[in-house]
Symmetry: C2
Subunit: 489 residues, 2 copies
Amino acid sequence: MTLTIEDARLYVRLGTHYRQAIRQGTLPPGARMPSVRGLMALHGVSMSTALQACRWLEGQGLLEARARAGYFVAAAARQGQTPRLPPAHEPAVAAPVDAARYVGVHQKVSSVLERALRAQVRVNLAGAVAAPDLYPLERLRQASLRVLRHHALHLVTPSLPGGEPSLRAALARHALEQQLQLRADEIVVTHGCTEALTLALRAVTQPGDVVAVESPTYYGLLQILESLSLQALEIPTSPHTGISLPALREAAARTPGLKAVAVIPNLQNPLGAIMPEAAKQELLAWCEAQDLALIEDDSYASFYDGPGTLRPIKSFDRSGRVILCSSLHKILAPGMRLGWMTGGRWQQRLEMLKYSQSRPNEALAQLAVADFFKAGHMTRHLRGMRARLAQQREQMAEALARHLPRESRMSLPSGGLSLWVELPEGSSSEVLFEAALAQGIRLAPGAMFSNSMRYDRFLRINCGLPFDAQLREAVACLGRLLAPQRAHL
Amino acid sequence: MTLTIEDARLYVRLGTHYRQAIRQGTLPPGARMPSVRGLMALHGVSMSTALQACRWLEGQGLLEARARAGYFVAAAARQGQTPRLPPAHEPAVAAPVDAARYVGVHQKVSSVLERALRAQVRVNLAGAVAAPDLYPLERLRQASLRVLRHHALHLVTPSLPGGEPSLRAALARHALEQQLQLRADEIVVTHGCTEALTLALRAVTQPGDVVAVESPTYYGLLQILESLSLQALEIPTSPHTGISLPALREAAARTPGLKAVAVIPNLQNPLGAIMPEAAKQELLAWCEAQDLALIEDDSYASFYDGPGTLRPIKSFDRSGRVILCSSLHKILAPGMRLGWMTGGRWQQRLEMLKYSQSRPNEALAQLAVADFFKAGHMTRHLRGMRARLAQQREQMAEALARHLPRESRMSLPSGGLSLWVELPEGSSSEVLFEAALAQGIRLAPGAMFSNSMRYDRFLRINCGLPFDAQLREAVACLGRLLAPQRAHL
């Protein structure tokens, strides 16, 4: 059997999908793997791809072939592995949050942030940020010093519209890895992904308009919507495969004023969900048919540690329907606040809005990062960071499984900074937040990620910090705090 | 006669007012100075103040006392001085631009900028920006290097909300010189004054609202208004004393939806006008009575080279009515894009909007500038820069007087980067712009500074560049281009 490169890409992707399910316990040891014909029908792949995927999993000791019965999950597949919570539940697709029932998230988020700032925090599990030592500080410092030694004139010269050409060229080259074809002059450098999202929303909406978002979603996006007097239409979202397209279609049909969809298709914040490529294409086609703008935050794709790379929806866009927003502050340098975007059919309007909102970014950070890219450090840095994060996620997942109540559940994404934890029925993450804060532990309660209260039973847990005894003790403390909380019910 | 400090401040201010008039030729040699009683009545000062002002001018050789006849402008007052155009006309107060007749300025400005970018520009008279060598590049570079050597961790650590404490403290201390009492935590560091103005307008308006502005005014402000779907109500503004309060009152009375007044009271861009302190207080009281927000752009006050300092309106504000927006990119470092603001009663909303729009500024530039302030370099830098700019303004004013048509007029402000030039009746600065661009000379036509066409006869001329033979030849070229332009009429 001869495999093309395309076939190879397909069977590894298919295999990874099932490896994830086995590792998470969705397919427990002894469970029957779908048959080769079943896989062909379910995933629309050829027999050779289905067969190769099973053999690939078998080669890793995750499946066992039984004569005339097909493949089964190996008894040893999770043996000797770390304990693991079962995966978070899929959402009820039927119940998107009605835009009309919109409650401002800003006050909720501010209140959480303020209480946290007033407390003595020893352990911060609330952020979605990695420890400084996961970033290439010394290389960035040297690059900045070089720029100041050789090209300091930029300090006293107005910055260039759109951004520094060297950085825009480096970003365009980097985007090629995600199968994204961009010219450097199609990229606008922004003050972080936050400014990019603000500009994107300003470009395609008027106050009062409705924007469909994942539920739960990054609270910063909800704050932007609120500050622009936009309404968030929260669409049920799977912790595994992202926004529910049936729910989106249903909600859109009964929501006047819907102008845009804003999603994080790759390693969604807070869920870690990854939209399958077919779903990305389906969403794009649907936005096209509905004449909606599609705003995509792709800040986390470089954290993916599965095979291949995650494509942004923009890479499928042929008509300029997608505004892609991304950044380097999560993956390279939290303190340099470099974001970027490309605006498709709204490019000119975005350039005008960027100019009128904050003028071009200053040059120093741009030039330093361009130097870092040029020296070829980016690929190596990302490889190292992904490995560190994978280890930290595993360690945190293990600690949570050991210490949280048995009925807890959790998403373990294939990359990124966070875990999404589902506490047992009757728990309240806001109550837990207060109790934990009194112990010096800061949490991000699920309620921050929605205008509804439907995520009060959830927590986003940061895995950006090296897992040490203090973190382990903090997780144990959460377990102790949750026990009496549940006893009250 | 005993003078208090307050008296001394008054007579120097009064004297400066007349010195300006004499230097500009408004009071030509031989003209009679108003009598002491006349000065008392006109300016509401005591006899001792009026008398001291005259003696102060006499001491400078600008006035001569004639027995029993009073003071006259000395014959030598302008003798040996440079030729000078008469001052620009006062505006017709009766005709504010109707907000309903609003025409977007963005397209006009973009078109001007784009045509300029496509051309081969040898001499740029269009900006309001100083040459790099007027800025303390080496000190800023050293300060940045120090920060990178000793405190580089900020590169990989999220920035602090509101800005770096050391910079906010330095800005608060610096503001004291303008009689402005601010706590460091009342200051929000922004991406330039542009972001500050955007945030201020977002805080106090909704799309469709009307904002009163000076006419002409900085085109960047008009672009922000347009991008936020706000309407600019343009109020006639004196090239000498700023916005006309009678015109503002009259326009406000017949304009529904007016929510804010946005002014540049000190060295207005493009006019160079300075609002007298009494007018600042009157505007504030009126905004108070009308319940309007007062947004103040004070980016240029440090360029003032008269006696004393120019107070921002904010320094008179007791009720939190004024949002002060300012910046360091004009006066210290064009490439570091540091702005700041303080929001009075809207402070909390501004902090929220800043956070949701672009997150806190990155730390490096803030720490470097705080270091520069701390080393005490700011005062010396500003003194040197003011002197350089004064010389350049004088040289440009002289060249314009020599080369422009005789009927031209011009404001010569007591500081800043620009001259506002009024061309003879029938001239068009847009026509001149095109003709000059063909000669490699870039201009800022008056039409950029208004939604109306009433400033087509005006030019803003940059004095930020060292005056050299090339600049002189460029001005001569403008004179040649204007001659045939007028002959057609």
